[in-house]
Subunit: 338 residues, 2 copies
Amino acid sequence: MTTLLDVARLADVTTATVSNVLRDRGRFSARTRARVLEAVAQLQYRPHLTARALAEGRPPTIALMVSSIANPFYPEFALAAERAARRDGYFLIICNTNDDADVGQAYFDQIGGTLSEGILIMNSALDVDALYRGHGDGSPVVLCMWERPDRAPTLPCVAVDFFLAGRLAAAHLLELGHRRIGAIVGSARHGIHAARYEGFCQTLREADIAGFADDVRFTDDSIQGGHGAAQSLLRANPALTAIFATNDLPALGAVYAALDMGRAVPDALSVIGITDIRLARESRPALTTIAVPTAAAADLAVALLRELIRDADMTDSTLRVAPAPRLVQRDTTGIRRA
Amino acid sequence: MTTLLDVARLADVTTATVSNVLRDRGRFSARTRARVLEAVAQLQYRPHLTARALAEGRPPTIALMVSSIANPFYPEFALAAERAARRDGYFLIICNTNDDADVGQAYFDQIGGTLSEGILIMNSALDVDALYRGHGDGSPVVLCMWERPDRAPTLPCVAVDFFLAGRLAAAHLLELGHRRIGAIVGSARHGIHAARYEGFCQTLREADIAGFADDVRFTDDSIQGGHGAAQSLLRANPALTAIFATNDLPALGAVYAALDMGRAVPDALSVIGITDIRLARESRPALTTIAVPTAAAADLAVALLRELIRDADMTDSTLRVAPAPRLVQRDTTGIRRA
DNA sequence: ATGAAAGCGCTAACAC
DNA sequence: GTGTTAGCGCTTTCAT
């Protein structure tokens, strides 16, 4: 390992000067600068990031907690977050909680403030508030993809109006003439996708569509979950002409289930999701969905986190709202035929 | 921030003792232990991981370099790697290189040996050897998912026999009676998927299938890439009855392209991929593919990295081979009808 | 313009 | 059993 001291000796200066040159601070002559740089090159010196972090009192990393990086939505967010973080000189540590509170707490306790300077938290089934409280002198935290801009949480967050997304989805189906619409919620009843479902319900209610309350299934956020839920829905009520899912993965699952059951999509069943993950566009039939500004949200989240890092007791304007969701019509929704 | 010293003062011992108690080393009486633990609890003390890392001379993290975490294969690997790493007490830092050599080098230089104790590298288009050499006194590196177990690279690695995977895919198609088979390679001609294509070609050659040399397209590892390649292939040679893709994503793209062109799968076109990502099983039609032991490879990779960390100049048996790929037949391949 | 020296919070010899 | 002390490699006042 070659250290600052090695460089200093070779360049015949002290570590302070080397440090200054390297970080372009303080004063030094052009000559020393050259000598130092040469020594650095010659010795292939690279700063010890851990040592620097300790001396500076801040690590060069921020963490991203997700329930499972294997859910294809998260990588899309993570990619954007990583780019944003890197732009600001941070490395991104990705933590899978698996929605396990203990794991989440462990991550929180271990990385917050010491290994990483701040924590981005993706919407998760965990009670983040509780985690955060247990966490004491926390380093800053921002909730990403909060679902209800109108209901600000305790913690700083960037919100996406998923309630509106639910409404848009319902409105689209109504417009196409659908009246019997099933719903698949990719979380527990009062879980993270609740707002989306509420938005959906409200719009149906406003259109005086009743009696759909039984046509809902709660499952996990996956193709498989959506597949099972759709089968159940369709078997229980074959008269359904459309299905709304609170996320693209279960929506895709619903499409595949319909196909498996011999119902053409969209002719015999319309399906709409929320998010617009890449797969929504690339799958066949391509999924109609309510697109959500993933990358924008990631950028906002990193920016907010930075502000919180800079100003620890910033307490105002700690809620950022990402651009509104919008309909992306593709090939899984059509006019009601039945 | 509460430090070891705070705890020590409250418990009326020295930092050394606190450190010992916390890490269960050295000797201490049950009474002091209790006092220390109480002080820790009372002050909500949590160790400063950066300070510890500096003192111990090793950071608690390992890094995973991937070209893009948005490719759905990587998260599956990353998830397994993260679990394995955590089991060993490490955090996982995920780095997207975007297949950009400069970014890769930057990551290498910055995290290797200082921020992370070792680096896992996913198969990438980068010349890792070169990066590694440029990297000087590197911390250990292991290449994950090396494609040719029979051709050991300079660097430590865990290999998966992708040449065999290519052969298996070809064999399967031949068995179903296919003779005119197109190929989609999810990388540049001599890129990372070359071995898979070579295996495929060799098996065809052994079966005396000739003249297929033009029926190949090189593209990127995505559904979209496969879609375009398949369109091109099918237009140039409508007589093709099957398509082999070196990865599941392009294979799926080929399936969707066939569908878009009105060719039923598998009746009018069989398609096979390699990897068996989750989507392969969940998409419709479910993709026939050559399954590759992703999680096992991740476990092996982390284990190998740990050995290298422990024994810096270990040089033997630095090549680990993951279990063999195997055919998973699903719904995109069938007997040749045409 | 450069050097000396005191930490950052922790671990690890070694002494008592 | 517990305390003392010297670092880990770097940054950062403060002298000079």
